[in-house]
Amino acid sequence: MGNKQTIFTDEQLDAYQDCTFFTRKEILRLHSRYHELAPHLVPMDYTNEPDCKLPLALIVDMPELKENPFRNRIVESFSEDGMGNLSFNEFVDMFSVLSEMAPRELKAIYAFKIYDYNVDNYLCKEDLEKTLNKLTKEELTPEEVELVCEKAIEEADLDGDNKLSYADFENMITRAPDFLSTFHIRI
């Protein structure tokens, strides 16, 4: 118990517990994971909220993300600057949204951001093609990719604008019960 106090104050931990889906222990574990990524950069003492950010390259090297085809997008979506530099708070945010407890709606918002490569707030065909290529090691022929993406848009697009808006996406998510369990990273 002793070393907990040296990392965060009780108030900080309360704030973390109130604002994320983690318990005190998990926050501390997250901190140690974050610390492990760059022991010389990340201080052990977070009581005075040091301004410290880790670059994307370090974060996607975590075993939890390393093999994920969307690792860069995940980290970018949660970084404030959009470049993938994560502060500890953003790091916690990321795993909070990806945790088991997060509601579907919250997960859906961030999943949409992850799939939205060009950040135009629509999943257009290019976004889907990129997603598909990541999911299949780019081994499908361009025609097949196009066919699959067209079919996907056709199935999910409700308002007929040939791209998926968030509403379309959310509608699809509510019909895909697996999403809750698959959009989940155990830490």
């Binding site: 222990k25 919250l106 999911l135 996907a152 509403a167 019909r175 697996d178």
Partner: protein
Amino acid sequence: MTSYSNGGVFNPAYHDSETLEIDRRSSRKHQHTNPYARVDPAQWGHNVEPGDNGEWGAAGDGWTRRENVPMGLISTRLGSPPLQQNPNNTSQIDPDSQYDRLPPVQLHSSISGNMTMRWRGVTMRRMSMFPNADPAHAAFTEDAIKSEMENEEQNLIKELVALSTTEQIRKIRELPVSFEEKKHVRTQVTAFKSSGQYHHFTSLTDFSQNMSLSMRRFGYSIKSARQTLQLWQGIMKEIGGKFGSSVLNYFVLLKWLLLFNIFSFLVNFGFITIPLLVYDLSLNVSPNVSFRGLELLTGAGYFNYTIMYYGSYSNETIRGLLDYDMQLAYFFTISVYMVLCGLVLIFSMASSFKKNYALADPASNSAWQLLCSWDFSITNEKAVNQRKNNLRIQLKESLSEKAHRERQTTSEQLKQYGIYFGSWLLSTGLAAGCGASIFYLCHYEDERVEDTETWSALKEAETLLVPFVVSLMNMVIPLFFSLFNKFEQYSSQRKQIYALLFRNVLLRISILGVLCYYWMNTVPQKFTCWEPMVGQALYRLVIVDFIFLMLGSLFGEFLSNVIGTKIQPRLGVPEFDVARNVLEIIYAQTLAWIGIYFSPLLPVIQILKFFILFYLKKVSLTHNCQPPRRSGRAAQMKTIFIFLLFFPFFVGALSIVAYTSWRLTPSEQCGPFRGLNSTFSVTGEWIDHVNNNSSTHWVGWIYQNVIRSEIFYFLSTLIILVIIYIFWQLIQGRKQLIVLLRRQIINEGKDKSFLLEKLQNLQKSCPEVNKKHKKRTTHTSRRSAERSSGSQSNSNAMVQVLLARQQLEEEERRRASGVSVPSDISTSDAVTQAMLARQKAERQDENVYEITDGHPPSLDAVAQSLAARQRAEDRDEYWSTTHFNQSNPV
């Protein structure tokens, strides 16, 4: 960028859905989340709302901000008086919003929007501002944004303060913003609360705040402790990382069942065994019985005299500090355990259905595969590659499948149906055959068995024949089923799995059914002390089943791995068959449930079994298996598994236990219920005993009039049937509603694209005028932005709308008033008519709505409004474009 359809008046589907409850809610929310709604004439017609919408009742400034509508169309405003009475409120939370289309972009220092939904709306607006921001507007936009943000923040905090603490925290947690912002909101809320603005009695507030803080901390520490106690977290993570969530489901279920058994053991041991041990420690083993070791397998002999089985329990009342009636204890422990199991199963099944089945839609397969199927929890490189391969193959298959299906001829179809028929016939026949052979085997054994006391070791070993055959059947026959399955070509993966599952369930049910029939009918007549015999039979089944499970995973999976890797690489490494494995553990658990009455300590064996099985399967999985090629929809499979566990298996076990205790005469020589007509009559005796005591007379009354009375059950069944019927009707209504809402979305999409086109045409037609008036427009916009800053949903997006709209609109108006007055008049005339007609429809709908949900709207009012709409459209296209300008920002 974003636009909303103003199709309220113009869209018949909108009218249809207007009578429906959910649509009301969304239209109300529309006003909050959608800044453009204010200038949407259609909305004004909507504002007559039922007065019960104050459920959130926070800081409602709904209608006042309508005063600030900067751009109100005078002509359409005529139709808006009802909105003055609108008891609006600001915190409508509806996760199903269809109107807020965009996710938030994280902008630092932007705290805004109550709850997720509104936030989304706000960020969307804000974000929609930046990309296309004209440098000329930059300064003003920043101002507006700032004030808007502060505004939103204030409102958010106000709303949060009004909620209870737990709700507050939940809402804060679910805000889709970064941690920093959440923390900021949280501090603001706390500061607001303690500043005394909210509460007047500060000392009391302090106290309650401290209380709530410490309560919360306590709750968190409990949560932490529970997490620490969670079994096998690391292993679960590893399995999930390597094999994905469908395989993980198996282990989750295994763990869950293990917990069931631990609970069952604790209950049985605590309430039945410990009192007995305290009362009488000595075992009355007859002298010629000794422990031979074979008992571990057969459960007979020495074990027969231990507390393992029903027979050793006493029927006496233990007199000590408290009188402890063993009969009652035995009866109530078992029944309470069964009831609790049933409840837990029902609740988990219901929640699983709600989550996973309610809206599941098999139609969107590609989209699902593309966007939802990736399992983020997979962390193993090999597994990731494999999954990618599988997905690629599946996609290719689904592309070719379509072509294939179209090409299928009638003869091919007939052939396929023939195969289905044949395999179903065969598998049903196999299941029935297994049941029959078990029946004859039991009879054969029956004839050879004499008194149990004089059993030789060989005789004892012979008892293992039945369980051995049963387990062998359970292992071998499913292989045949899988073989059939290969020949049948089901159109979808899911059908295939369900068919396989159904056949396996049929097999196990028929075998268990025959065994139970034998136990219930033949055994009681043959043995003087029959319950322990059934207990032994179950014990043997559990043990032999366990041995077969071990052999199955060691040899089955290990051998096929060796064959697949060394001898016949074509076959490949075996897949982990989730369905078969799950069925195995469900079957094992059923045995334990049936056995709970006959052998109260059977859960001990079950705990050991599951515990070892967990590690065994884990090792076998990681060494011998590859993840299933088709991961299917894991969540739905999980629901099916829980359902299976409940429906044939648990219900079957429960009915057998219930039958035993209601109908069968307990053996006269042994067990807690010796001398009674049936086990259940123990309650009757107890009630009689209680009735002697006049102070507890009501217990007897309840027993007579509730538990033993047919009329009570008759009435309650009737009531339940009625409730089920009502709910069923509700479901039908909801289904219709979903169809309507979907249609509405599609219609709105069409409207949107139509109007966009219109706007573009218009913009092309008068670009130079726009430039001229840009400055003035900006000014106006700013003014309206300032005005709007005081109220909730006067959001900055408004401003953005204005940018685009006012240029066009004022220009149009000026021109219109100068040049074509008659046209203008006629237009607004048509508009007014449309509005009136709409309101009429609205009012009628209102009445209808009060009577029934989902009633179709009054048709003639709709028709009128449509006619008016037609007229408006016909007369002048100008109106629609102007109107669009006012309600549809681009």
